[in-house]
Symmetry: C2
Subunit: 340 residues, 2 copies
């Protein structure tokens, strides 16, 4: 997959992060699909996920789909750290590479809010949706800007990163940073041994036990288990992804927690209770790091939420656009949400 | 946990592995508990697990327990590659370190069979039991020597390593070998960065999502999540464990498959059907790499087997002796099996 350049950039100016560092002359890269109505009332925000770029969200956008550019103005903002928005790989010194500061989900949503309000002049969205870390940003939008967000559909993600999810990511991080070529972030060429190692660690988590047992990777065009590990997984992390960028987004993910939003005293439950949006929350049945039970707990604390589990064996990647059945299921959820 | 030396050694002589290599002057290290009866009819074999040493099996042996040395003669053979039996870390050149050959579960059971029959003169065992890779050896005993094995209790393991389990282990291996200090197995000091990385990868798999959510590691004396990752997990893999040994046993694990036993044409189902032993098969409810569904499948193909799921949140380590509730549950299973 070649890197694409058909995106816009919004100047965030000197953007001070929650942690206290200021990203000077920061940029938010984004792509839009469809046309903003004159009333500015047809916009949907659809943030990216861990390591994802805007074009990797496009499988859920299209003619005749719920996210139809003929009807909606769909904004896909790239996460800070994903290599297109301001990131370790493109920030100028002194905040480049290993010195890139810690970014929180709240920072990402604040940057996106500036784009939506200041650049597009939008006062109210139709909906926010996203996969995985995109789901985390979706929850954060609903908590930070309840008056702007009447509908959300977070899929395969959570409002607060669970301890086990943090541990899974510690394993990913440890594999990447075990490569001496990483050199604490001060590398000239990518630490590919570490990137390949993290890919292999990720492989066991991204799809379910049953997915592997049934050799469903054949549906993706891979001819053996090892072919899938190299061709899909190692290829995935070698595809223009940067080690420091991945570590920046990993930190963001590990620290995702809507309860840390101002006004909620660190309480996940209070923050969930403050969500005014109608929500359809979609975990995948066999997701190993966002298990449905965590979303069940969230939905019980949300005023207007429905839990709708994506059935099947695809695990976390049920939400990655990898197969048509799950894509149709998510699309139907969005259709129902947007009709409400 | 200091290394112990209170064990015996059985000379395997020149031991030719299934793969074709011969381990010359090979040794099987073992420990026994209790006294062999004059009739030699009270022996139970209880093999070790991935990286385990005999003393790490002792939590399931004791006065008043099912595995009571007052009644039974319990033999704990150490797996080839575990650092006590012949292993990369103790084999003389030229088969040392990175040149240690591939060992299969069948090889381990053949070595143990020699010990049991040639050294102890035992013709029939009371039972075989084991955790994890110990469960794999338990199945193999029942398939290779059905006439000798009337009862088995494999817990948190499988008769054939599943594809997903293989992938999980690929991640563990990739994390260890991403450390340049590993040097393809030709190291003078342990590649501790890699060992610590594999520990962190393992952490997410060893216990369940709910275990981490409920902070059950506090019951083990750990004071925070990070304290558990360092104190338990990194400590575990730094505790006298050798990188090449771990890779040897990992290969054995990945290739575990009773269907590969002579006479079964590679068929798991045929091999399961040939097990004459009465079996109680015990998966742990939330085991992430030996999920209960795999054992359900096995039990359906075994003539005389009962599935008994260990309930609770401890995941794979339900079978590691880490908590008394699960230990009691397994002990009761053994009690029922031995009474039958």
């Amino acid at each position: 997959m070649p890197s694409r350049t058909d995106y816009e950039t919004f100047d965030l100016g000197d953007f001070t992060l929650l942690g206290g560092a200021t990203l000077r002359d920061a940029k938010l890269a984004y792509k839009t699909y469809g046309t903003l109505s004159d009333a500015r009332d047809n916009a949907i925000v659809y943030p990216t996920w861990y390591s994802g770029r805007y074009w990797e969200n496009e499988w859920l956008i299209g003619d005749g789909m719920a996210l139809d550019p003929a009807h909606y103005f769909i904004i896909v903002p790239n996460m800070l750290g994903n290599g297109l928005s301001t990131s370790p790989s493109n920030a100028p010194p002194p905040y480049d590479q290993a010195r890139f500061p810690e970014v929180r989900v709240q920072d990402n949503v604040r940057a996106q809010h500036k784009l939506v309000t200041e650049h597009f002049g939008i006062e109210r969205l139709v909906a926010v949706t996203g996969w995985s870390m995109g789901a985390g940003q979706t929850y954060q939008w609903a908590v930070s800007h309840p008056e702007m967000v009447p509908r959300i559909l977070p899929f395969c993600g959570s409002a607060r990163t669970s301890p086990h999810n943090i541990v899974f990511l510690e394993g990913v991080k440890a594999a990447l940073t075990a490569d001496g070529g990483w050199n604490h972030g001060w590398y000239d060429t990518q630490p590919t041994r570490g990137l390949r190692a993290m890919a292999r660690v990720y492989a066991g988590w991204g799809f379910s036990q049953a997915f592997y047992l049934e050799e469903r990777y054949q549906e993706l065009g891979f001819t053996s288990l090892e072919d899938f590990l190299v061709g899909f997984w190692e290829g995935f992390f070698l595809d223009g992804r940067d080690a420091n960028n991945l570590l920046t987004m990993l930190w963001t993910w590990q620290h995702g927690d809507i309860g840390q939003t101002e006004g909620f005293d660190g309480s996940l439950e209070k923050a969930l209770g403050a969500i005014q949006a109608r929500a359809i929350v979609m975990p995948a049945e066999k997701d190993l790091y966002f298990p449905p039970e965590d979303n069940e707990y969230e939905v019980r604390h949300m005023p207007n939420a429905e839990l709708r589990v994506i059935p099947g064996v695809w695990g976390h990647f049920a939400g990655g656009g990898a197969n048509q059945v799950d894509t149709d299921f998510i699309d139907q959820g969005l259709r129902d949400l947007l009709a409400s």
